[in-house]
């Protein structure tokens, strides 16, 4: 056991499973279901207009892979090839495809239906709209339109009774949506908001704050502000929720 962390050696890890999605397009996001503890081993993969849902296998590695790996030292190359062939692939539980062939999903997030606990999947991307999928029934529930640019990241607000969704978009804004009605509740943009595409957002676990980051300002006309490019905003999100009684906290820090 090394005494200091600097002496530690990095280990190399080979994949246990590997497969290609049929579309062969970039996969922009992978997400495990963190909303439902009983389905925590399910993950979604989004790329192009496809959403595939897989279940992580219970075994640690596919059959033959471990034995082949340990025996690889003393055995010949044939054994390695055999191991390569034994590399597992998973079969999807569900697959969704958007009707729009131009769609390219950039982001995915898991949520839960507040009324019955069904697993929800919110996907969004190039076509500026957010699709809400009910994985339990296998239907596309709602479509949230309103963004003027590609949606780069979506997040559910944790602990919310009514499920609220946040989306960060290329149109320099972040929007807060109500999933039950597909209404846009708030737009986080404007005077001191981002000056360019918002690439990422995250909600603090206590749902009090929202942090967003983005491309923000090519230097050209914001020379005085050029330090200010590539910034991260902390925006107060009105997301404190208990049993439908909403309380917005005004931030004392700033």
């Amino acid at each position: 056991m090394p005494s200091t962390t600097t002496e530690r050696k990095t280990k190399t890890c080979d994949p246990s499973w590997h497969w290609h999605e049929p579309h062969r397009k970039p996969i922009y996001q992978v997400a495990f279901n963190q909303a439902d503890a009983s389905q925590a081993d399910v993950f979604a993969v989004v790329g192009a207009r496809w959403v595939s849902i897989y279940r992580m296998p219970a075994t640690e590695s596919p059959p033959h892979a471990e034995t082949a790996g340990t025996a690889a030292e003393k055995n010949g190359r044939k054994r390695k090839d055999k191991a390569a062939a034994a590399m597992g692939r998973l079969e999807p539980l569900q697959t969704y495809a958007d009707d729009d062939t131009e769609e390219s999903f950039y982001c995915v997030v898991w949520g839960a239906d507040p009324s019955n606990g069904n697993a929800w999947l919110a996907v969004a991307g190039k076509r500026r709209q957010i699709r809400l999928i009910d994985c339990h029934r296998g239907v596309a529930l709602r479509t949230m339109r309103g963004h003027g640019g590609a949606v780069h990241e979506v997040r559910f607000v944790p602990h919310a009774q009514a499920s609220l969704l946040l989306s960060a978009s290329e149109d320099e804004s972040v929007r807060l949506w109500c999933c039950s009605t597909a209404y846009c509740l708030a737009i986080f943009a404007g005077q001191q908001g981002h000056r360019d595409a918002v690439l990422s957002l995250d909600v603090r676990p206590d749902a009090a704050y929202l942090a967003t980051a983005g491309v923000d300002g090519t230097v050209r006309w914001h020379a005085a502000h050029c330090m200010h490019t590539a910034c991260a905003h902390c925006i107060c999100a009105a997301c404190r929720c208990a049993c439908g009684a909403w309380e917005t906290r005004r931030c004392r820090g700033a």
Binding site: M1, F43, C178, C226, C231, C234
Partner: protein
Amino acid sequence: MRCMQVRVWSLGDEALQRRIAEVAVAAPSVAAAEAAAAAAAEVAATLKEAEEAAAAVADGPEEVEEVEEVEVEVEVEVEVEVEVEVEVDSAPRRTRHSPNPNQVDGDDGASAEPPLPAAPAAPAATPTGRKRAKPRSVPSKGGCGGALEAARVAAQDAKGAAATAARAVHAAEESAARGFAPPARVQLPVATVEGLHFEGIEGVSYYVDCVRWVGQLLLTRGTDERAVLWSPPPLDGQRPSWHPVASSSSPCTPFSAATPGSAGPGSATPGSATSGFASSGRVAAARGSPRSSPASASRPAALPTLLNEWHMPASSLWFLRCSLDPARRLLALGSTQGCVAVCEVDAVRAPPLVRCVARRGGGRKRACSLVTVRHTAFSPNASHLVGGCDDGSVYIWHLGSAVDVDATE
């Protein structure tokens, strides 16, 4: 199509709160309208079946009993419709008064609802009209011709009812959207933090394409191939604490002995890493030992404190995201070279724990495919790492023991 709206709305938290309350009121109404449409469609389908059955009977008159049976079933289905009493804006509704088995009648009330921008808790679809399906029991006549006719009429009526309901749903949604105040605008962020990912000399800015909360801390990744863990400006009036895993003898901790008056950031910190702070004239004034008491909350300026950083080669691509495990203990950084580095969030200046390689085969001699690992995700107990790549391939690495060993450290 840009979405730069110039409408000005009252800012502040009250507006947002009101909006949420409004939507909470509206949600059941929309859901009820949708349910009504679904029920109406179901009735239409049932009646269509009845019609088909009746048509079949018309060919062979010996199955009259079956026709009656079907009609009874229709009646039952329509009873369901009775229970669904929807209150929606029924502007485009058609009124019928013909004595049909499935009668749709209602009082007219298609008045355009004026938008109520500031009314608190204004419901989405004010019930200006009422659509109600009043079915009657289908008269089962002895003759199959009569039954056929009745079934046809019923089916047509049900179709009309379904269409009416669908239109009503649409109208309800539209009126709800119209009656609602536009989204609240939040223009002022609580804090804007700058200088974490930029190159000071040319003013070249890097994209920050990933931001994650680690408890009260923030972790950002930029296209400058760095991921940075930092403490945001005090949001709740106190600075969050952080306890890194690093031996005290290690001279590398970037903040180990940095006093507020020191000339610069920690000596061992690479210059490029902290030049952002230095050149912007905000040298670690707020920097202190994270174990000490929080910095004064009354400090006016919002200064971020750099706590930890990781450098990942070949990751200058845009939209190449890092990921954290659910426990916020591990960090996975992807790259364009088919490699993912798994680091510890709390370990300061430590090499990555595991380097996951996107090898197609199992052997060591196999070359790593130089694919861009766009995004990764940890399994719930951080035993596996799933990575999605640019060529549409998915890899799963079993981290298991490699991660657990260091957890005991």
